[in-house]
Point group: C2
């Protein structure tokens, strides 16, 4: 009934526990006959090595930490799913840290380190210099997700937000639209700053006046703000840093009788599930966030296997623009 120990397996197989351990960790070092016998008994007894003991002895835990500010955002869920699928493939399990916005307070971070994981996947909206410093001193490999690393010592996987935003804006301009409103968050996020930068660059390139609206994170407040804004003008194109904001804006506009996309076009950012459930269906930049999680976990595996030889790299993932019903 109780979980079998390695001793039990060794006893039943008539070998030493060292051999059982080898069968599990270095099967090639064990003679075929012995190996198969041990394996059979392991299966029979349903033996699974104790993770703590294993971790303590080998200094490896085959777990990775996934550190995120929240799990509520659809994009973060998709990313985690991508990580989870990849982790399963490589035999890693996941320790989840939902740290709120204060992820890199020394305290929160040392919790992560003390949990004895073999590597860390770190997703954060903000990237301050202290963050980099803290992370560079971390004893296990770290990969940034969804934000490209500015440090050569830390790898990352993400899209080039600035370039993406620049290209979308430019695309709309060359299609003949000049009055493009950019909606971002009031709260300062590194990724959103990059998106704004790209937008501004495109606008300035064409000598157009950038128009940036910083909206609150709260849906109800947003709607009120959006209504007020629409009192004074109807932009030709609205480009928002998140799908949810784009949709919220679109809904407010629809209710005022503004025809979408005829009178106003709306573009979102991310391609979360919201996009397909909106009416009209939202056109948006598709960030392959599942893939980003997936690849990040894969890269982390490499780093964990041979931290010395493998150089941290910044993997820039491709995005594409999906035109649905909210654009002409």
């Amino acid at each position: 009934m109780n979980q079998a120990k390695i001793y039990d397996i060794a006893g039943a197989a008539g070998v030493s526990l060292a051999t059982v351990s080898r069968v599990l960790n270095h099967p090639e070092k064990v003679k075929k006959g012995t190996r198969e016998k041990v394996l059979r008994i392991i299966k029979e007894k349903g033996y699974k090595p104790n993770a703590n003991a294993r971790g303590l002895a080998s200094r490896k835990s085959t777990t990775v930490a996934v550190v995120v500010p929240t799990v509520l955002r659809a994009s973060i869920s998709e990313m985690i799913q991508g990580i989870a699928d990849s982790a399963k493939k490589y035999g890693y399990s996941i320790r989840l840290f939902v740290n709120g916005q204060h992820q890199t307070s020394t305290d929160a971070w040392s919790d992560v380190i003390a949990s004895s994981v073999d590597g860390i996947l770190f997703m954060n909206d903000e990237m301050e210099n202290e963050t980099y410093e803290l992370i560079e001193h971390t004893p296990v490999p770290v990969i940034f997700i969804n934000a490209l690393s500015k440090s050569t010592k830390i790898g990352s996987v993400g899209i080039d937000n600035e370039d993406c935003s620049y290209r979308v804006t430019k695309e709309m301009i060359t299609r003949g639209f000049k009055d493009i409103l950019f909606i971002t968050t009031e709260h300062k996020y590194a990724v959103n700053d990059l998106k704004e930068k790209g937008y501004r660059r495109a606008m300035e390139e064409f000598r157009l006046l950038p128009s940036v609206f910083k909206s609150s994170g709260d849906l109800a407040i947003n709607e009120k703000q959006f209504k007020e804004m629409l009192d004074s003008r109807t932009p030709e194109v609205v480009f928002a840093v998140r799908d949810s904001m784009a949709i919220s804006f679109m809904n407010v506009a629809s209710k005022r009788g503004i025809k979408i996309p005829a009178q106003m076009q709306v573009v979102g950012f991310q391609n979360t599930r919201y996009a397909e459930l909106s009416n009209p269906k939202l056109s948006c930049v598709e960030t392959p966030i599942y893939e980003i999680g997936n690849v990040a976990m894969e890269k982390l595996t490499e780093l964990m296997k041979n931290a010395e030889e493998t150089k941290p790299t910044n993997v820039v993932v491709d995005y594409r623009i999906i035109y649905r019903e909210s654009t002409k």
Copy 2:
């Protein structure tokens, strides 16, 4: 630079490592002066006990497993957030298992057990008898989430789906609507079966003909099916087991020119973020899924503290119906 060990702390404080350990685990057993000194040094050195060693020695890991089929569903994310917040409060960390639909294959489950967690929060859509059996033999406490347990040995936290569905249906009937369409999943899920049961009970009570539509999980297929269905009739009320389905149906209907709620009312189930982003805004049953996660983790804490005395209970959480724009 390296992580400090308990020996280092003991050395620096001039005490034995037993004392350092006691300061951490049973501070009341240590004289105040000693305790404060040790605590100070711990802080200075940023010492965090090695989780594996601690787990191995104490047979406790202060980690719980959260086992879910996917992380992609908005409701599951909210639940995890609820769990995470509660876990942080009680000092537990989370090991996340994203197991797909085959969660209780003996294999997947023994992975969970082998990960040496102190307790398990288990969310699954299907609840077969083998599942119960497997779980009853688990050496640590388990709590079902979002589905009430049929077993007296396993606790659970969730809403009474059948009752809820019954009441919503009845409410619509007594408001004078007879033609109520129920949309559920093609794939068999225990929770959805319960919802259907409640719906049928209400309809039969009023001698109305139940009309159940089983829709695919795929959005594109759904839309096609919905269109075909709307060719033949326009139900007065549509009640779907998930917000996303309700919204998808609503959008298809809107596009055909059906006025919502004037000609057709739509009610969803869950109150995910989708509900507020739809146009018109979706009326739906609000399952307090964040709270469910939160409470489940709390209950699990109790069970882990004294598994013997604490009896597993089934906590039935209240739901409420939120009327927004998709109903009259």
